[in-house]
Structures are given as C-alpha cells and as structure tokens.
Symmetry: C2
Subunit: 352 residues, 2 copies
C-alpha cells in the first residue's frame, strides 16, 4: 500500500495524486483522487494526509500539479498557498521548495521528477530502516526466534509513503515470520495507535494487541515484551529524542524491565543544531483534544488541561538509534558520568 | 457532599436513600431517590454508585430498605438479590451481610443503625487518612508551602461517602491553603480521572490540570510534581499494592524523578492473606472499553485488545502507605536485598 502516489494520465495531459483518506480510518478505507492544488490544500488541512515524509512528497507533487494544470500567472500563488497549508509542517515546505526549484529550471516534468525521486527515496529509506532494525533485533535477542514488540503512535506507511519507520521494522519481522505479536499503545489523546497502527497491522495480517498507554509499563515488568520500537520527531546531537507524548514513560519502563528500546527514524530527523533534549521546546496542543473525542465529552467542558504533544527521552534510556543510513549504538557510548555520545559528528560511522 | 446517604421519613414509615447519579457526571449533577430494593439494585448495576466503601454502605442501607418496605416473606429474596447485584464487589456483599445479621436480631431499625454506623465510620476513616496524609507530606516536603500533587483514577467522595482516600488528602491540602495544584491523570480506559476526579476538584474549588496518563512521567521528570497520591484496591502483606492500571508506571516515574509516592487506602484494603503482589490475579476487562468510548469507536471494531484493569506496584517503589489507622513508612523498612516489610503483623505499630 502506498499512502500517497502519483498516477500518470492515460493519455496526454497531467496526471493526478492518489492518497489514502486518513480521516476516514479505521472505519473506512477510501482513496482520494487529487487533480487540483485546491483539492490538495483541502486534503492537507483536513489531515487526510499526515506524517512528515508523506507531507513532503505531497508538497512536491502539488507543485507538479500546479505547473501542469494552472495558467502560468497563477502558479506562484498556488505554490505559496500549498506551502502554507500547514505552517508547522516543515517537510511540506521543504517538499514544495525542492520541487519549485526544479520547476523553475525544467517546468512541470522536472517538478514531477523531483517529487517522484522524493517518493522513491522515502520508500528506499524506510526499507533500509526495516532491514537494519530487524537485523539489530537478531543481534540483541539471538535466542528469541519470535518477538513480542511494543510500539506507540503511528510510524507506519500512513505517516510515510509505502512503509514507515518503527512500524516498518515490525512489518519486516512479520514478513520474516519473526513476529510473535505487536503490542500497540492506543496513544492518547489522538489515538493514532488505536486508529492507524492497529489498522495497518490488521491490513498486513500481523498479530497484535491494542492496549491503553498506561498498561505498557506493567506488561513490560511482567515479561510480556521483548523490545520497544518507537519513531522520533527530533533527535538531538547527544541522542536525546523527542517523540510522541508517552515515549519517555515507555523508555523508563523498558529500562526497568531490561528490554531493548530502539528509536527508528530517518537521518533527516537528526538535528545536530540541537545540543540536547533540554533545548527542545515542547508544544502544548491545548485542551480540546483531551476534553472530548470525536465530539463526545470525556471531561467537564471547562476542565483545565495540560497537553504536551511530545516528550524527550534521554539518550541514556535508548539502546540504539536506527536510521536509513546507520545504527547508533548508544549503550556502547554510555559513560558513568552521563551521556557523551554525539550523534551528529559520527555520521560517517556507518555500522550496518 | 455525600455520595450516598440515608434520608429519614418526615413522618412515620421508612426513609429513603439519596445518592449522586454518577452515570450522569460530569455533564449533569443529579441525585437519585431510592425507595425500593429494586431501584437500588438497578442503580448499583448501572454504576450510579461505585467504589468499595460506597457500595458497602449502599448494601447495608438496602437491607434496611428491604426490611422496612417489604412483606416479611419477600425480604430474604430481596436481600440475596441485592447482595448479588455486582458479584465482584466484595464490599457490597460485606455491607449486606453486616446489616442482615443485625436485621435478624433487631429488625429494620437495627439494620439501619448498622448502615449508619458504616457510613459514619467511612467518613471518619477518610478524615483520618486526609489528616495523616497531609501531615506526612509536611514531614516529607518541609520546604514546600504549596504542593503540586499528581493522582490517578477517582479516589474521592464519589468512591466513598463524604470524602475519599487519596483525593481526601488533596482536599485537605486545598482546605489548608497548601495545594498549588492537582495534576489529574484521565485514567483510560474508563476515564474516571477525567470524568469524576476533575469534577470533584472543580466542585471543591481546587486548582487542577487534567493530563493524558502518558504525560505524567515526563511532567514528573521535568520537576512539575512534588508528590504522587494514589488509592489501592488491595495491599499485600509485603506492601505490594494493586491499583488502577497505570499506577505502576507512575511509581516508576516518581522513583526516577525522586518524588514521594504515597498509597492512601483504608485498613480494610490490607490483605495479609496475600503474601506479595505476585499472588494477586489481574482481571482483564475485555475489549469493549478500549475499542470505543460512549459508543464512539476509537479503534477498528475487531481490534484484539489486552485490557488489564489493575497493576501491581512493588513496595520498593512506594514511599509510604497511609491508612485510617497508621502510616507505614516503607522506605524505613527497605533493605538492599529487597523488600522485607510486612504490613500485616505491624498493625499495632500505630505511628500517627
């Protein structure tokens, strides 16, 4: 399954974007046919497409659509509108900028080529993470032919193009007959685990169990988990990792239970300009997500809420970081005085 | 506010039970007038009344109702039906048995006296826990005039009669001007924290913030919490404590952050017949609670779910257990080789 793809026209004329409408999951699997920039902006704003890699590809394909379908004097405005469709989504702007630079040199076909290259790189990168992660688990747990792995949020194809990050490792284990089961944290407040990851695992025929987030620690302590696999929103130079709220609690529980804790994320997530997790600002997403779910109140209507979207897991609690280019073994770098690993400058330490 | 109480008749004839209808919280505050055993059984089964102490009092008052309102030959059947209204609620059966024993000796007025004594003992016990807990926090945190405390589930008046267990300590802090704020875990899957504890804190005018359960650990690590206060479903002889799922994860995070972790529960919760947490069986409450909330799907309809209702927090992670009769300081009993405290036999070690 590709979350987003380009469909060439049958004859002459522009093609279109095909994407899974994630707003309708898990109830309904439906795909959108996006033929105009207006439709794409609407799809992005309604969160029909989400996830950094998918948004990057969407932005680049949108530039191709703009150049191929609009009068020349309207293209620039459309591209700007697309770029601003979700202001905090850095990858959307990056994808738009990259394709727009190509479009100015080589027109619509150059923009499309850039978008397709971005799509293919994402697919290849996810495959590389899947292979490295699965191989690392063999090394860490040589006596476990079938693994019980725990994950949080959605790090699957729905956040990328064809595979994902942490979930691509689980998919690989499943494909290789090495998955006993995946334990999926539902991931409050927006329930991406329950809605999206459960749906993806079901679709791939993998055995899984959905749990409330707060059950993960005791299940780990009871010996029910062999490894924890999570994605990342940002990885600081010292290996501290910002990810979905709840990730830090999982890392604490994994350390307590002696369970390997792996971060799986593309190399682009490593931000060497950020020295440590202390420099990462945590966004508060406001009260509405916690006070109600799909319009059903879950708390008093005026309940004050603290809703941090992310937390920071210190490198000391991370066993390894797996990217599309390498495995950073953080346990090997740990010193009694604290964390001294620097993820940034070791980029050429390719280990896989 | 009393969650449940007995209202004497204006003139001759039986009185009735008045109880908060918890099924309508937090949207609506409404009280039920219960004049028959049938109404009471229905209220218990619909979870209009819940929480061990409140159910015990409900059972005892129900026996008084039965004896006072039914023909003699129907009383026994009604009492049996009441006793079985929620088979897993041990306190309901205990309350029924206690009042029924009195009824057989002294009739309806003796049953009612027993019920009112149980009500008054619960109120006094909660007050004692509140006082001991608040005093202990002064001793543990002498340099913090105002405390930020974190709690899970509902341990307030709604689970008892007039006060509660852990939440009664928070109420006491608030009354004494020592509460900076309470952080309330929403408590998936049934959201008792979001629905009930938030409502109680709001009603008492206490400052609070609602959080998703998985945010607690990182807020603690960030220095945002001075103490964690939780209730208990069962306390084993060695101090291991079974409580709402998620409690163990909070204890881990508290230990990591160096935050005191207090269990507040009535002495009746201590089960000396259970040697340790390993002997406590954890009930799985099935998939429906996790797959949907108030009828709104939160996951694929056929998602496999693991839904443990409770977890066990080892005594080693508990700072102290506060009951209506004593404070058991577990840190003082800790040995490097592990836990050696025995909560049971030290019953006469009254410390407060």
């Amino acid at each position: 399954m590709r979350t987003i793809d380009w469909v060439p026209a049958d004859g002459p004329g522009p093609g279109h974007i095909r994407m899974v409408d994630q707003t309708r999951l898990p109830d309904t699997f439906a795909e959108l046919r996006i033929s105009t920039v207006d439709q794409l902006v609407d799809a992005i704003q309604r969160l029909s497409v989400r996830g950094a890699p998918a948004l990057g590809v969407a932005g680049a394909m949108g530039v191709a659509l703009a150049v191929q379908t609009l009068p020349t004097d309207e293209v620039r405005t459309a591209v700007d509108r697309l770029r601003a469709a979700r202001p905090t989504a850095a990858n959307l702007a990056l994808g738009v900028d990259l394709a727009w630079a190509q479009a100015q040199r080589g027109g619509g076909s150059a923009a499309l080529d850039a978008a397709l290259a971005m799509r293919d790189e994402d697919i290849a990168g996810c495959r590389a993470m899947a292979a490295r992660g699965a191989e690392l688990l063999s090394q860490l747990l040589p006596d476990r032919p079938r693994l019980r792995v725990l994950t949080i949020c959605n790090t699957g194809a729905l956040a990328a193009v064809e595979h994902g990050t942490a979930l691509s490792v689980i998919e690989r284990l499943h494909d290789e007959g090495r998955l006993d089961r995946a334990l999926v944290c539902e991931t409050r407040p927006l329930l991406q685990g329950a809605r999206l990851t459960a749906w993806e695992l079901s679709r791939m025929g993998a055995r899984y169990e959905l749990i409330v987030d707060s059950a993960a620690a005791s299940i780990m302590a009871g010996g029910g988990v062999d490894a924890v696999l999570v994605g990342a929103d940002r990885i600081a130079a010292n290996g501290d990792t910002a990810n979905k709220i709840g990730t830090f609690a999982l890392a604490l529980a994994a350390a307590h239970a002696g369970v390997p804790f792996l971060v799986v994320a593309p190399e682009t997530t490593v931000d060497t300009a950020t020295a440590s997790g202390a420099d990462i600002e945590i966004e508060d997403r406001g009260a509405d997500e916690v006070r109600a779910f799909r319009g059903v109140p879950t708390a008093p209507a005026d309940a004050p809420v603290r809703n941090p979207a992310f937390d920071v897991t210190p490198a000391a609690l991370i066993t390894a970081i797996v990217t599309d280019r390498r495995v950073v073994d953080l346990t090997a770098h740990q010193t009694p005085a604290g964390r001294s690993v620097n993820v940034g400058p070791s980029l050429n330490e390719e280990e896989a």
